[in-house]
């Protein structure tokens, strides 16, 4: 059984040789290769090379064509500050400068900002691993992208003060997300993960999610499935339990659970959805390998009777993580056999 088959078995609750393990290694792949993070997020060839090297080192089940959370907003017109050893940050939000929605246009993934480089990374990675290992692309959720276009406070106050205008922005964001995600699929990604931390219940209450977010995510995931995504993976950071009941209607096949979500509660709420998680991300920096191994074993035991599980971190494994901690998580699934 190869990695891709193993992951699809987990998605479909079928038997597999072992539990799949996905380490959310993004910028850590650059750290590992002694490459600057600033270069990594701007060069698709380099990103793919670093991801391949990390895969060879750790032997987990997926690679990521993923740069940072500012790819879409930059392609639309926000300006960024790049740094050597950190992810880029937004210098000016496009909608903070007074530009109205009617001035914005959906970016062309083959032309605008760093989108073409990300597509190159997806293409290279798929060429490298074929259908042996899952190639994951990444788009922001419409809610998170809207916040990246104008800043969090401005966006959230707009949602309350002028909900119709906010809804139009979300629709625009959904269109951007669909076009970029479909382009990633066409470039070779097996699926684009939807990263949507700003929809976390720690940011917005569940009724807000139901009113503004749910239908747009459903639209996004339907488009991805039509374009050939192997599965729909939704990554919402934080204490997501209040919004998990919406996931089946949205069309989520893999639900990421962060470290603060109780796995049994997530299993009860989503009995037929594959879950991935949920080791504390900072533990990969601060803990010892034995602790990661123990936590991995605890999770594997918790899901042993159910299946539908991919062992991973609760969110991104920080770039500065200790490699021996990532290895400890991967080795834990090997001990199952």
């Amino acid at each position: 059984m190869n990695s891709l088959e193993r992951i699809m078995a987990a998605v479909n609750f079928q038997a597999a040789d072992r539990t799949p393990v996905i380490a959310q290694v993004f910028g850590h792949a650059a750290t590992l290769a002694d490459v600057s993070l600033g270069d990594y997020v701007r060069d698709g060839d380099l990103l793919a090379r670093c991801q391949t090297q990390a895969l060879q080192r750790y032997e987990y089940d997926a690679v990521f064509a993923l740069m940072d959370v500012n790819v879409e907003t930059e392609a639309i017109g926000s300006s960024l500050t790049y740094r050597t050893d950190q992810y880029p940050v937004v210098k000016t939000h496009i909608l903070a400068e007074g530009a109205g929605l009617n001035k914005l246009s959906v970016p062309d993934p083959n032309r605008d900002g760093r989108m073409p480089e990300l597509l190159k990374a997806a293409r290279n990675l798929r060429k490298e691993v074929g259908d042996d290992v899952l190639v994951v692309g990444c788009v922001l959720g419409p809610m998170t992208l809207t916040i990246q276009l104008m800043g969090a406070e401005t966006a959230l106050f707009l949602a309350i003060d002028e909900p119709e205008q906010f809804a139009r922005l979300l629709d625009f964001a959904a269109e951007v997300v669909i076009r970029f995600g479909v382009a990633q699929l066409e470039a070779g990604a097996h699926l684009p993960m939807v990263f949507d931390p700003s929809s976390s219940p720690s940011v917005i209450p569940a009724p807000f999610y139901r009113e503004f977010v749910q239908a747009r995510l459903k639209r996004v995931f339907e488009a991805f499935k039509q374009a050939g995504a192997l599965a729909n993976w939704l990554h919402t950071a934080g204490p997501a339990v209040p919004i998990l009941p919406y996931y089946p209607q949205i069309g989520v096949d893999i639900a990421n659970i962060d470290f603060c979500v109780d796995p049994p509660e997530a299993m009860r709420t989503l009995p037929t959805t594959c879950l991935n998680g949920n080791i504390r991300p900072l533990a990969f920096v601060l803990s010892e390998p034995e602790e990661i191994a123990d936590e991995s074993s605890r999770l594997l035991r918790a899901f042993a009777g159910r299946g539908g599980f991919i062992l991973s971190s609760g969110c991104e494994i920080p770039p500065e993580s200790r490699p021996e901690n990532i290895a400890a998580m991967v080795q834990a699934v090997g001990r199952e056999r």
């Binding site: 992810y87 940050v89 940011v203 807000f208 601060l286 770039p319 500065e320």
Partner: protein, 213 residues
């Protein structure tokens, strides 16, 4: 002492309704209520109820932002530009450290502290450590709050206490919060307190200042 009806103000603040909050404040002032009474029985009462609602499961930034915006409008009504500033419990310096441009969490903490009687000096986001220490010294702060959404600022967070000691400011208490920092123990990032929510931080400061909430 309490001859006035504060429930409508509290309710408007909790609803995040800034217009009604200001109208209620004007009504109370017109009826003869004192500014301190409005703060204690209106704003602080609303903050206590919001604090009680903010369990780990029910905490959301939007609700607190809306309440905070209404609180700030009420404070402007009570203390318009040029009016003497209200008495405060202590000065707290806040920042998101260099490399982190996320300031929503910090701004929420600022609002909670302001509404509960602290003077807040906000060093903003992407703040270099030296600038932060300068502000702490200049403002004679009781404590410093650092907010971090991304793990890459942890090395800087760890340096804050040593920098304070270097400058003879070892008495200043250090608080940390935000999505990345709240995953850590206080000991592991060398601060005095790690808060899961803004209200945790306010309670810690109230213990330091001996304030009742």
């Amino acid at each position: 002492m309490n001859d006035f009806e504060f429930d409508l103000l509290v309710e408007s603040l909790l609803d995040g309704d800034q217009n009604n909050s200001v109208l209620e404040t004007r009504r109370l002032l017109d009826a003869g209520a004192g500014r301190k009474q409005i703060i204690t029985l209106g704003i602080e009462s609303a903050m206590q109820q919001l604090d009680a609602r903010c369990t780990a499961e029910q905490f959301n930034l939007l609700e607190i932002m809306l309440c905070g915006r209404a609180v700030m409008e009420v404070m402007k009504e009570l203390y318009p530009p040029g009016a003497p500033a209200p008495e405060t419990k202590a000065t707290i310096v806040l920042a998101s450290l260099q490399g982190d441009v996320h300031d929503l969490g910090k701004n929420i903490f600022k609002m909670v502290l302001t509404a509960t009687g602290y003077r807040v000096v906000d060093c903003g986001k992407d703040c270099p450590l030296e600038k932060l220490i300068d502000a702490i010294q200049r403002e004679n702060a009781l404590a410093v709050g650092i907010s971090g959404l991304i793990t890459t600022i942890i090395p800087q967070a760890r340096r804050v206490r040593d920098k304070l000691i270097e400058r003879g400011l070892g008495r200043v208490k250090t608080l940390a919060g935000g999505a990345a920092l709240k995953q850590a123990t206080a000991e592991s990032i060398q601060v005095d307190f790690v808060g899961q929510t803004a209200f945790d931080g306010a309670r810690y400061l109230d213990q330091l200042t001996g304030s009742k909430r």
